[in-house]
Amino acid sequence: MTPKKYNQCVNDYSDALFRFVVKNLKDEFEAENIVQNTFEKLWVRRDSVDERTVKSFLFKVAYNNMIDVIRKRKQIVNLEDVPENVREYSTEYTGIKEQIDLAVARLPENQRTVVMLRDYEGYDYRAIGEITGMTESQVKINIFRARKFLKSYLSRLEVLL
């Protein structure tokens, strides 16, 4: 991969990659670090990464980094140390999109990841499986469970309103 093609990848994919990570972690600082590390890995391995699968490579590396961060967070269960830049979500009703965001934030990590890759990036089950290490059927069932939860969340909102 030439520097020009690498730069093209930065321009084409860094926004999507950042969105994927920041929406999962809800920590912009950590998300920026992960995106930067991911592109550094691409640069280091630019001669061995297949240009046709570079987007999947980026998402896979970012996903693995993200899982490491989530695992560390689970080990560090200390409410006093909440990072400053964790996004706070309003609980007031503002609109369907905001409510979906709220609901997505409540999804288990594996369901949130697959539904984001599906809807934001348009990946099929096989590609999502390659990124996350799940089988196609696991991907499908996780997307189904995620949508079922989101639907149920929205339906409760409609009752309340």
Binding site: Y6, N11, E32, D119, Y120, R147
Partner: protein, 282 residues
């Protein structure tokens, strides 16, 4: 196709995902049209698709690489040039050595060589705030000077306002340091109360980077201090400390404004020292 309370959601899901062939999809659509409850459920299911939301990665420029020819292509020429310089130097040296020394024949007294005092190669400009703390820091294996191994350490005074500029370029030691400050100091500071006097020291201890807080015995303090915070700092240090030998960091409160907190960060290592004022948005 039989619709039950158990499978209707799955059928709606399959329709939404485009997993049904044309015939089955049409059949599901017909069922939805016939039933008000299914219509409502289908509407909700469609709303579960996340809408595209443009997010911009602000540090994009820092990731870009120069697209010109790589410098490595010229390295063989440098090698030949160096060899040529060496040959010429040896030749010139031999010429000088073999030349008759006219001065030796004269009775001129031998001049004493002027010996200059060795300059201190490394200064650690620690701020008053930090220097004033009553630290009982365990001394490292040597002082900053003898860590230096003859290399001159770079001393930098800088002010960094975080979250304003993208920093990520590991080709440059200044940038590595800035990145270190960016990555480590928020981790150190985020767990510390806003009102207490703060001084944090991060230094090698038993093979890992460890942190001491305030002015009591650092070793005891490390043992007692919040473990998760230390772990986060260690992670930040481990990620970024590769280029530095014997790195030590002291962080202390430097001031407080309405919207910002300022910290002095004194960093020392064999290769690089600095005293930086870092401002954090509150």
């Amino acid at each position: 196709m039989k619709w039950t309370s158990e499978n209707y959601e799955f059928l709606l899901f399959e329709l939404l995902e485009g997993n049904l062939d044309a015939e089955k999809a049409e059949e599901v659509r017909r069922e939805i049209e016939k039933d008000a409850f299914l219509q409502e459920e289908w509407k909700l299911m469609q709303q579960t698709v996340l809408q595209d939301e443009p997010v911009s990665f602000r540090n994009k420029k820092a990731l870009l690489k120069p697209e010109g020819p790589r410098l490595i292509a010229f390295m063989p020429l440098v090698k030949y040039a160096a060899a040529a310089v060496l040959v010429v130097s040896v030749w010139a040296g031999l010429q000088f050595y073999n030349a008759p020394d006219k001065d030796l024949a004269s009775d001129r007294p031998v001049e004493q060589p002027v010996v200059k005092p060795m300059e201190k190669k490394m200064q650690v400009p620690v701020s008053d705030d930090v220097a004033g703390m009553d630290y009982k820091t365990p001394e490292p294996a040597g002082t900053a000077d003898n860590h230096n191994d003859g290399k001159s350490a770079k001393v930098v005074q800088a002010e960094v306002v975080l979250s304003s500029e993208p920093i990520k370029n590991n080709n440059n030691i200044d940038n590595i340091y800035k990145e270190f400050v960016r990555a480590v100091s928020p981790r150190a500071i985020s767990g510390i109360s806003g009102t207490q006097p703060v001084a944090v020291e991060i230094a090698p201890l038993n093979g890992e980077m460890a942190m001491a807080v305030n002015h009591t015995d650092p070793v005891a303090e490390i043992d007692n201090y919040n473990g998760s915070l230390r772990e986060r700092i260690n992670q930040g240090v481990a990620d970024l400390m590769g280029p530095f030998s014997n790195p030590k960091v002291r962080i202390s409160r430097a001031g407080e404004a309405e919207s910002k907190l300022a910290f002095n960060i004194a960093f020392t290592s064999a290769e690089y020292t600095s005293n930086t004022v870092v401002q954090f948005k509150k």
